[in-house]
Symmetry: none
Subunit: 195 residues, 4 copies
DNA sequence: CGTTAAGCGAGACGGTACGTCGTGTCTTTGT
DNA sequence: ACAAAGACACGACGTACCGTCTCGCTTAACG
């Protein structure tokens, strides 16, 4: 018995070319300047193929965003919580221009669209929370944090102000560097076990 | 020399009708569904009039957002920082559906548009930060906070996780109520002077 | 090594199914509504098979039209020219709805396409001219027409007004019956030898 | 009471430019090569304007055909029926390439579309019949034709074979010149009063 | 107190992008 | 080895929207 659909299968190359072209146009021309025909031309692909792979332009953008997921690398172990977090920020954990540029737009689409919101979470938010979570678990093992600390809450406390600043200041890296780390010290003091 | 332009003056009624219609369409149809013609029809106004009052569609949206500013009320003095902050959250400081619905969309427009971003900050962010600031200054006067506390930073620490949760969870009020207040207690402990 | 049969020799069936499906779609949807995919689906055939049998859509149409040729029957001998011609008209010599429906469309394709025009002539025009020619030759033998009459010209004179009316009046059978035969009498008088 | 519609009136210039551009593209590229965007570009007009003036591409073509009507000139009086008819043919009464090229295509559209057929008749057929009719009436006055001749029938007899040849031979002018006039002599003999 | 310049609703205008569909070619799997 | 199924590149179709431009009319300040 065959689980295979008949006919010529969808081209993975075309799919990849479309997503890559979308990302390129998105970065060069911005969201407003993204046209399906521009993607079509750059990908060297037929318009019908785009619409066969993605129901509409939004889905195309979502796929492009999702493709960024792979780019995020594992955070290194520097030996201390503070070092780990700084390393995470330093490696562009959230200040990656692609993220600061795309995330708000994606967020806008997510408003009123539960599926879009789920994609937003799974493609952008959760992987980053997972990295922070790993760092925090290492800190607990090291004894830097209380055993019963609510790690999800701690993540909120670390990432929240950072994101907030990101949104308010429009992703200016200098401002982020200056203010992003500030809450961390405060938290480290409040959450240290021996106190 | 005349300080007055000749001819019929611009109609304040038309201006108001345009802004109101824009808000209505924005709420009913969302950002994507907002078309100048829809505003025109709902406002009972000529298209040229819209473009005489606002240079383009973005300006129209900005004006509509700005018109929401008036709705925010002064936060009451409950006698304690914790009470004030809870009161602020309780009165819908940020969970106002108009805010949770508009803010992300506006944010999306703000990405890559400095003017839009400035509007976003001045119309939505700053008024709310001002309220929190007033509350915190009262707390300093009461002796609940250290005199030399960086209030802007404290605001980040309080509002940041809240906003972060708002964005992640899509503004679900129940979740906000459960998690929004959590960081506050932690902060209050860490920032109390007598320690 | 496998002695498996080299696939089903379905070629002839497929060809016939394609032509039949083309005719059906042509009659139901008209020329504009004829799409190769519609033919494909109705014939239960692969698209590549169609293009293996016919170079392009025009050839497909030509084949469909040609398949109508077989339907035309030999004209009977009634004993007189007038009777023969009336019999020819009566048997639907040209008022066959398939002809009145297809001919103009085919004509349209023929404009500017010599090959199409040749098809048009050989599949529709010439067989009918041949019938008229046979009738006229019988008339010459009977002495009803002058020996040196230009039979091609006589055919033009008989068929021309008829076709002209057909095109002008849109193939309305009543009109054709009323006016189609009229020129014939006039011609018979003018071409009778004993005058 | 105002008979004037509100708003900016449709542009007669745009309409004319569209029709002219359609005719040009039609003549240069042929029917198959006619695209609305080509017309749009050549006319220097917005696509929406085309579709505001004409419901679809067919209507556009019809309007272009109709615009040819004005080009037909009055037939001169040469003093004799035969001369008049020759003059009519000589001036391109029916051999105008625009006619021989468009008529069959229009005919094809007319099949199954009464409105289209009516346009075909009123824009192409009737004006030409009217010219022939005028010539024939002059002939009756001159005594060249019987007073009680059915002029409509005579028109059929003159025009019919000519059109028939036109269609069969694809509008080759040489063939038309050779064969188109042949039936005329026959008819003149048969319809002359003094016989 | 009438001119007159600029406002007004209405809607057509030139463009540009959208998403659908049709053509003729190709690449799969199944028989 | 050929057939069905259907994906592919290309390009036209008809719709919607943006921001500009006439229309004919109102409205108010100035002469």
């Amino acid at each position: 018995m065959s689980a295979r659909a008949p006919g010529r299968p969808r081209s993975a190359e075309a799919d990849e070319a479309i997503v890559r072209a979308t990302l390129e146009v998105l970065l060069e021309e911005g969201f407003r300047g993204l046209s399906v025909d521009a993607v079509r031309q750059r990908a060297g692909v037929g318009k019908a193929t785009i619409y066969r792979h993605f129901p509409d332009k939004d889905a195309l953008v979502v796929a492009a965003i999702r493709s960024l997921h792979k780019a995020v690398e594992e955070p290194p172990d520097t030996g201390s919580l503070e070092g780990d977090v700084h390393a995470l920020f330093a490696q562009g954990y959230l200040s990656d221009p692609r993220i600061t540029s795309f995330a708000p737009r994606l967020l806008a689409e997510a408003a009123g669209s539960p599926e879009m919101h789920a994609i937003f979470r799974s493609a952008l938010i959760e992987p980053r929370r997972a990295f922070l979570g790993a760092i925090l678990r290492r800190a607990v093992e090291r004894g830097e944090l209380l055993d019963d600390a609510d790690l999800d809450l701690v993540i909120d406390l670390i990432a929240g102000p950072f994101i907030y600043r990101l949104l308010i200041d429009g992703g200016d890296p200098a401002v982020l560097a200056a203010r992003g780390a500030a809450p961390l010290r405060l938290l480290l003091e409040g959450l240290a076990p021996g106190r």
